[in-house]
């Protein structure tokens, strides 16, 4: 049965429909873009430093730059954009505003305050006037220790995101009272299921910060158990990957089919996919700890099995989205087995950016399978391969989708036409090419053992042995990719800034999303039973984590065997360095 879903006020932009919400979304997007600008620039600094092309920071400060790059891009950029998209999705698909716009502004401001605290703490690593430090990298687990302000900032940011989720639930509950017999509209369903696993996974990191890391940083407790904080971080740390990805998935499901000129192939399949992510995102984090001593191999094997199940929703997505695009292309006159590809709107930067991001995500899926396999993971663990992998996932599947989506969303929430579609098309292509060069070289470098997370990857008295080419070529390829990515970033920001100064336009497209070929009436009502899926997700987490956590606490103690911690940026004691050198070179 063919169903077309779109807002009842289809001829108007989002700004016309929800002017108050549009302001919050615009603010969230700009917060996201600022984080992208700073974090992206720091990425260039790192790439040029590591590859020895241009060095103007001290190698000891590399970790401050790396921490800022990771936090600003992986946490701030992605989640600010997410809260903007989800607020749009809930209000548009329910065709009603949020319950209380003051509450919406409150969580946004809380996230901003958290970001500022975290950012200033990290900046303290290179600015002597700021008496703070947080060279703890994106993963921020012990034994690296940050200033308390860093942890407080993270808590505020995460609690802000929790309140954002509460805002979306309140809005849905209000809608449900008015529409008791209606199925949850697909975009709202996607936002709510994602929020539920966000609540579930952030409990781990909240526990880690509030019970262990913050009291330890404040001096209330003397030590922590590093393995416990690592495990609690990765309990959150893999699910956060899906938290970034779900808004991108949402865009692929509800925007790409519309941009292609057609409809979503199957609403029920999309619901199944999001339910699977709710169930499986969290109990898999131990696959990041395959090389951690202190966790039994059996638990790691269970985590690997769960991880492999996660391929299912990704493959379902690939099928559904490509089928939807093919439907759209055939509606536009496309024919043949592959000839329909020519009928897609490749001149549209929104479509092309999202499609290329999806293509890159397919490559990321293959390298992700290698990361997830216990035995082959040993080959690439902690190598540059992993960095290449997540630059395909968060750095392209997510970031490129978000940038492409911004070309549609910013006009919707500002009422101004995009400054240049040609520049936008060029931007998504340059990003794609830049990431091709950079991530390919990183993957290849990882295969011959080049480590990640170091400013000085080239050890003295040792030569890496690349399968093809030379280390110099690999470095040149990374540097070239990083420069192209920075150019693409500048093109994006220029377009966004100039769009903001554009005149108001009356010719913007209406605020709609894709209809469906098979609608929610074709799916069992149980798919909308959020309580049931949440309960099963909780059970899976208990099954996946109870025994490993109990084992870690039993063997290392709740607060660890007197681990004092390290503050990398504060000082470097030459005696300690010499001692380390003597250990490896007696």
């Amino acid at each position: 049965m063919e169903v077309t879903r779109m807002s009842s006020t289809a001829s108007r932009t989002y700004l016309d429909q929800f002017p108050a919400e549009a302001k919050v979304i615009k603010a969230a997007f700009w917060s996201s873009f600022m984080a992208l600008a700073i974090g992206g620039l720091l990425g260039l600094v790192q790439a040029l430093h590591r590859t020895d092309v241009l060095r103007f920071i001290d190698s000891a400060d590399y970790y401050t730059v790396l921490t800022a790059h990771g936090i600003l891009l992986a946490i701030t950029f992605t989640i600010f954009f997410l809260v903007g998209i989800f607020t749009w999705a809930v209000t548009t698909s329910l065709d009603r505003g949020v319950v209380d716009i003051r509450f919406t502004w409150a969580w946004y401001i809380m996230m901003v305050v958290g970001t500022i605290l975290v950012g200033v703490s990290i900046l303290g690593g290179v600015v002597d006037a700021i008496p703070m430090y947080a060279d703890v990298l994106f993963t921020f687990y012990a034994p690296l220790q940050a200033h308390p302000a860093f942890y407080v900032g993270l808590v505020l940011f995460v609690v802000g995101s929790w309140l954002a989720g509460a805002d979306w639930f309140r809005t849905w509950w209000a809608w449900r009272k008015e529409n008791p017999d209606e199925r949850i509209p697909l975009p709202t369903f996607m936002a709510l299921t994602t929020t539920l696993f966000w609540y579930l996974c952030t409990l781990g990191v909240a526990l880690s910060i509030l019970v262990f890391l913050l009291p330890w940083s404040l001096g209330i407790v003397d030590s922590v158990n590093p393995l416990l904080t690592r495990t609690l971080f990765w309990y959150f740390g893999h699910a956060v990957v899906y938290f970034w990805l779900m808004p991108a998935y949402m865009m692929w499901y509800i925007m790409l089919p519309k941009l292609s000129g057609g409809k979503l192939f199957s609403d029920p399949l999309a619901r199944v996919v999001f339910v699977l992510f709710l169930l499986l995102s969290t109990p898999v984090g131990i696959h990041h700890q395959y090389l951690d001593p202190g966790i039994a191999e059996g638990y790691k094997f269970i985590a690997m099995t769960n991880t492999m199940f996660l391929l299912l929703p990704s493959l379902l997505t690939a099928f559904t989205v490509v089928a939807s695009m093919e439907h759209g292309a055939r509606q536009r006159g496309g024919t043949g087995y592959l000839g329909w590809l020519k009928a897609l709107p490749w001149r549209d930067p929104v479509f092309t950016g999202m499609a290329l991001a999806g293509l890159m995500f397919a490559a990321a899926g293959f390298s992700g399978m290698i990361n997830a396999g216990m035995n082959i993971n040993y080959l690439v663990h902690n190598s540059w391969w992993v960095v290449g992998h997540f630059h395909l996932t968060v750095g392209t599947a997510v970031a490129l989708t978000f940038m492409a989506a911004a070309y549609w969303f910013i006009p919707q929430v500002t009422g101004k036409e995009l400054w240049s579609r040609q520049l936008a098309l060029g931007q998504v292509l340059v990003w794609f090419v830049g990431m091709t060069f950079m991530s390919n070289a990183m993957h290849r470098a990882g295969l011959f053992g080049m480590p990640r997370r170091t400013a000085e990857p080239q050890y003295q008295g040792f030569n890496f042995d690349p399968a093809v080419g030379t280390v110099g070529e690999i470095n040149a390829q990374v540097a070239l990719g990083a420069v192209l990515l920075t150019v693409a970033l500048a093109m994006f920001l220029l377009n966004m800034v100039l769009t903001s100064f554009n005149d108001d336009s009356d010719s913007l497209p209406a605020n709609t999303y894709a209809g469906t070929l098979s609608g929610p009436e074709d799916s069992p009502a149980v798919l909308d039973n959020l309580k049931l899926w949440t309960a099963i997700a909780v059970v899976l987490v208990i099954v996946g984590y109870t025994l490993p956590l109990a084992s870690i606490v039993e063997s290392g103690g709740l607060f660890g065997p007197d681990i004092g911690g390290f503050q990398l940026a504060i000082e470097t004691d030459p005696a300690l360095v010499l001692e380390s050198v003597r250990e490896v070179m007696p």
């Binding site: 020519k342 001149r347 290329l356 794609f432 091709t436 390919n440 290849r444 093809v468």
Partner: protein, 69 residues
């Protein structure tokens, strides 16, 4: 043109990872290309795609050009 200009740009962009990976794949068969050889190969592939894209589908370029005048 056989495809739109936008589609041509996308095809060229997508060609780049194939050219980059092709070098690695060839090494499995004992064929090791230098960077310069890879660049020449990539340039040739892009040129071929551009020629294919701008060539009239029936192959009769002169007729197409005279008809368009």
């Amino acid at each position: 043109m056989r495809i739109s200009k936008g589609a041509l740009l996308v095809v060229i962009a997508v060609l780049i990872p194939f050219v980059v990976e092709f070098r690695t794949a060839l090494s499995w068969f004992g064929i090791e290309l230098s960077v310069l050889e890879s660049l020449v190969l990539g340039g040739a592939a892009i040129l071929a795609v551009v020629l294919w894209a701008v060539w009239p589908p029936n192959g009769n370029a002169e007729a197409e050009l005279s008809g368009s005048r």
